[in-house]
């Protein structure tokens, strides 16, 4: 009870009292995430020519991705078969083999290459 009175006291003067009171009593509301909103929007029977939020996503890239070194960002002709990290030259390789597991995994995660299939 005590806390409720306290928060009531904090009500900014310009806020509607009825709204404020209703928010105090009703339990916490969960809000739909964007994914949910978009999927429910998609499921509606829109007429043909309507453009939605989800219909303006960019197309996938048609250009082949360049291979860049995970460590230095330089173009990387080599891949280490053990860690799957890409590297540009032998100096990088020597530093790379000393890297602990969590760092190599971090680099892979940054590139989004953690999936086994890819």
């Amino acid at each position: 009870m005590n806390t409720e009175i306290q928060t009531l006291g904090q009500k900014p003067v310009f806020k509607s009292t009825s709204w404020f009171l209703s928010r105090q009593t009703t339990k916490k509301r969960t809000w739909k995430g964007l994914k949910q909103i978009v999927s429910s929007e998609k499921s509606l029977p829109w007429s043909e020519n309507v453009v939605h939020y989800s219909s303006i996503n960019t197309p996938p890239s048609f250009l082949p991705p360049e291979k860049l070194s995970d460590l230095s960002g330089l173009s990387a002709p080599y891949t280490d078969p053990q860690t799957r990290l890409r590297f540009a030259n032998k100096e990088e390789y020597t530093t790379m083999i000393d890297l602990p597991m969590d760092i190599t995994a971090g680099y892979l995660a940054l590139r989004g290459a953690t999936s086994i299939v890819g």
């Binding site: 003067v13 739909k32 939020y53 960019t58 197309p59 890239s61 330089l74 590139r111």
Partner: protein, 666 residues
Amino acid sequence: MEVLQFIDTKTVPDIVHTYSPELKKNAVPIIIDNGSYTCRVGWATSSEPLIQFRNLIAKPRRERLKKDTIEIPQTPQLQVGNDIVNIEAVRFQLKTQFDRNVVTHFEAQEHLLDYAFSHLGINTEDCVPHPILCTEAVLNPNTSRQLMSELLFECYNVAGICYGIDSIFGYHNYHKPMESALIVNLGYQYWYCCHIIPVLNNQTNFENTRRLNTGGFHIVNFLHRLLQLKYPVHATAITVSRAEELLHNVCRVAVDYREELKKWANAEFYENNVKKIQLPFTINTITSAVTLEQQKERKRELARRLIEINARKREERLAEDEEKIGQLLDIKEMIELGADRETIERTLTEFQIKNVLDLEKTIFTLNTKIEKTKQKILAASSNIDEMEEPQAKQSKFSKMAFESDKEMYVFVQNVRKLKQEILTKKMVRKQRKQDMAKRRTAAGQERMRIISQLARKEKGNDDFGMRDEDWDIYKTISKDGGDSDSEAENEKLLEFDEILRTHEPSELGDCSQPGEAHQLHIGVEMFRGPELIFKPYMIGSQEAGLSEVIAYVLSLFNPDDQLKLASNVVVTGGLADLPGLRDRLLTDLISVRPFKSTVNITIINNASLSSWYGARNFAQSAEFMDTLVTKKMYQEMGAEYFKVHKYSNPFNASPTSIAVEGDLCV
């Protein structure tokens, strides 16, 4: 080379502005540029937005109830917008009303609007009697808009609402807007994405608009993580806010990324162009030296105290023994003097002695004991001086005296050689270990051969291990190669280092500057970050990059319109002022356009505020009043209703209930 510093700007809490009677009387519209990075709020009559704040709230977690306390835990203070002084301290409690670029969390939105309105100084009872012009995402889903209208009308009782798209406002603020343009909005206002919006004959073409779901947020996170991985030691010092600072102050867009990479591969170029940034650090090199000295001092002190304690104990024991022997001698004297038998026996039992013979024996042993203790005390007192001596000698590497420079040189060379030997040994071991781990190396195959040979031996007569040589086989096949880096070797290495340091301080590459270990070197990274919007595959996204999308959007039009659009490409948004961006876009665009066709790219000045200015200009115009949705209309037309104008999204009423019911009937 100049070393840069992080500024670590702190937000200043906003003041509450005065709410003048004119504002109230004229019902001046309030302009809210509601971006997912910052929110800008101001009156339509003001020249600049009055308040700008990060669209964030920090909700500290309620303290867990302890079992024995009965009192109600205090609701922790909610921090909103610029109240958050140190954003890194509350990083994990931050909440925003946005999901990507769409407002979804309206509780947070309510807190942020409270913050905005109260800092504008509004003090009218139960209402905000002003029209609101609020920006929203391109093709904002109806659900989001509906909830926003609901919040503004039901909670704040606003006089009217008008929605518009930020980048279109920004474009129209541009001094000479043409009828057709290709607006490239590089998300910072909506910092999760970038938009490419074609405008033909003052009509926004939504059909061919495209949204790239990579934006400033991704660049900042990419930089943040990249530097953390590069400098794992400083992982905590590299914060998200600092990554943001890097993006704004250091990063640039490469005109030709590949060329740039080739340049950076050159060590000399790297040296000359790398940006060094100093992380805050505390000088502890000197203090550590002091503590080393202190440690020695402390050790010495401890040793001295121990010696003292021992000496005292010995003396006590000596005194005790002497007292006892005195008593025993008294008894002996008593016996010799011929005291009566009974008293003698009583005193003897008191001292736990059986008979006179025993008494003699005890006296003898005590005597020798006393003698020994006395000797020990003597030895100890002379020892104290001796103990001091080697202590002084302890710093044994304190530069030995050499007869000539040449001799010293030879000595140092020798030490260096020894050190190198150990290092090589270590390296060979490491190499072996690696070779063993792989299958196809010679070492690995040899190992497999031996193992299989051992396994082939018949059972029954297994005498492996009987001979000493068998152990050698174990050594060759064990993955460590029989021996590992020994403790003794490591100690030796440290010792050599110490010797080298005392004799040739420059040798070991000691940092000349104290903070050098706390510097971040930003080389390729300054291009690598912004490159992300051109190459989203760098973070594993499947999407096309910015230039590719621009080319794609252009390809959706007929050649005439393509020319119109390409000759007026306008870049807005917070990332638009990255150096090099214009040149990059220009080269990329020229490469996809027909030979010698007109291509023109403009970067809007003050790109991050332009949409607020544009919105303000619109609110001052005459047509603004016609685009307002009043509360009456809201109640009549439904919550998702809004009026379409030049700057707004298209209005498509959701075909919800009727259609769904129709489906159900069928």
